[in-house]
């Protein structure tokens, strides 16, 4: 069987005969999907994990990210302005006369 036929099968071409390899795959699917635990996490686990995820602080943090960003920038700007002002005042101050 060439790869072209196989790829057609992958795309579920209509009326295409299934390649023999797919029979193996169907058996395997049946085998794995017939397992008693197939795909069903316990309900208690499902609920508990959902609650733990919903209680994460990350949601609130991301929601307030804009505000946190603005406050941080403001603080940074004020700090820079204060330093600049301090340097400016220090520069303006006349040096005291040297002691004779």
């Amino acid at each position: 069987m060439d790869m072209g036929v196989y790829m057609d099968m992958e795309n579920n071409a209509v009326n295409q005969e299934l390649p023999e390899e797919m029979a193996v795959m169907r058996n395997l699917q049946g085998l794995l999907r017939d397992q008693p635990t197939f795909g069903r996490p316990k309900n208690e686990f499902r609920q508990a994990l959902r609650q733990r995820l919903a209680g994460s602080r990350l949601f609130a943090l991301r929601r307030n990210l804009g505000a946190i960003w603005v406050v941080s920038l403001s603080v940074l700007w004020l700090f820079t302005a204060a330093i600049a002002l301090g340097l400016f005042i220090a520069g303006k101050k006349k040096p005291s006369a040297p002691a004779v």
Binding site: L53, L58, F59
Partner: protein, 195 residues
């Protein structure tokens, strides 16, 4: 599903992901959509409920933590989640000296649990399935992972390529090769039984 509606589904999911970054309800919807699939994948790779639950929880917490940096790149969100699960399972196996990759050993054949005597033709089928299972157990870990992603999770080659960090064509040819080899060995076994 048409290309148009497929695109619409992707867009809806993308919008949901954006909301899920800040809204627990939206994240809960994503969680409900993918929990079973991720759990199943993890379960078949670790082989017991306790570890499967632990790793599944870690996958979703990791997803929540990194959702802020998630960028939609045209691939389904599931591929991103499976990739996280793949890494978590790899970490689990690395951290556990008992390297029990893809624990198919715990699986049972249909009807095996009831221990009922089977009709003759069904017994032959059972033998074939048992042989198939033994062949799959003998495959290298990455080939078993590929079969699980295909057989259990029905993922596309493109998604599997993202999860396993290989090219799509490599996945296509590997899948083809594995199935062909399984088939050939099944036929050889069948031939031996008919001798």
């Amino acid at each position: 599903m048409s290309i148009h509606s497929n695109k619409q589904v992707h867009e809806e999911e993308h919008a949901l992901i954006e909301r899920a970054k800040t809204e627990p309800e939206a994240f809960g919807m994503l969680y409900e959509s993918y929990l079973d699939r991720i759990y199943r994948y993890v379960y078949y790779r670790v082989g017991n409920t306790q570890d499967a639950e632990d790793i599944t929880a870690r996958v979703f917490f990791k997803a929540l933590t990194h959702l802020g940096s998630y960028r939609h790149q045209g691939l389904p969100f599931s591929a991103w989640l499976y990739r996280i699960a793949h890494n978590q399972v790899a970490n689990f196996h690395r951290d556990n000296s008992r390297y029990q990759e893809t624990s198919l050993e715990s699986l049972t054949l249909p009807g095996e649990a009831s221990r009922q005597p089977l009709p003759e033709n069904e017994s032959a089928d059972q033998q074939e399935l048992a042989y198939l299972l033994s062949l799959v157990r003998d495959l290298p870990a990455y080939q078993r992972e590929l079969l699980i992603l295909k057989a259990v999770d029905n993922l596309s080659n493109q998604e599997i390529a993202v999860i396993m960090r290989r090219s799509e064509s490599a996945i296509k040819s590997l899948y083809h090769r594995v199935l062909r080899s399984l088939r050939a060995r099944m036929e050889a076994q069948h031939g031996q039984r008919n001798l």
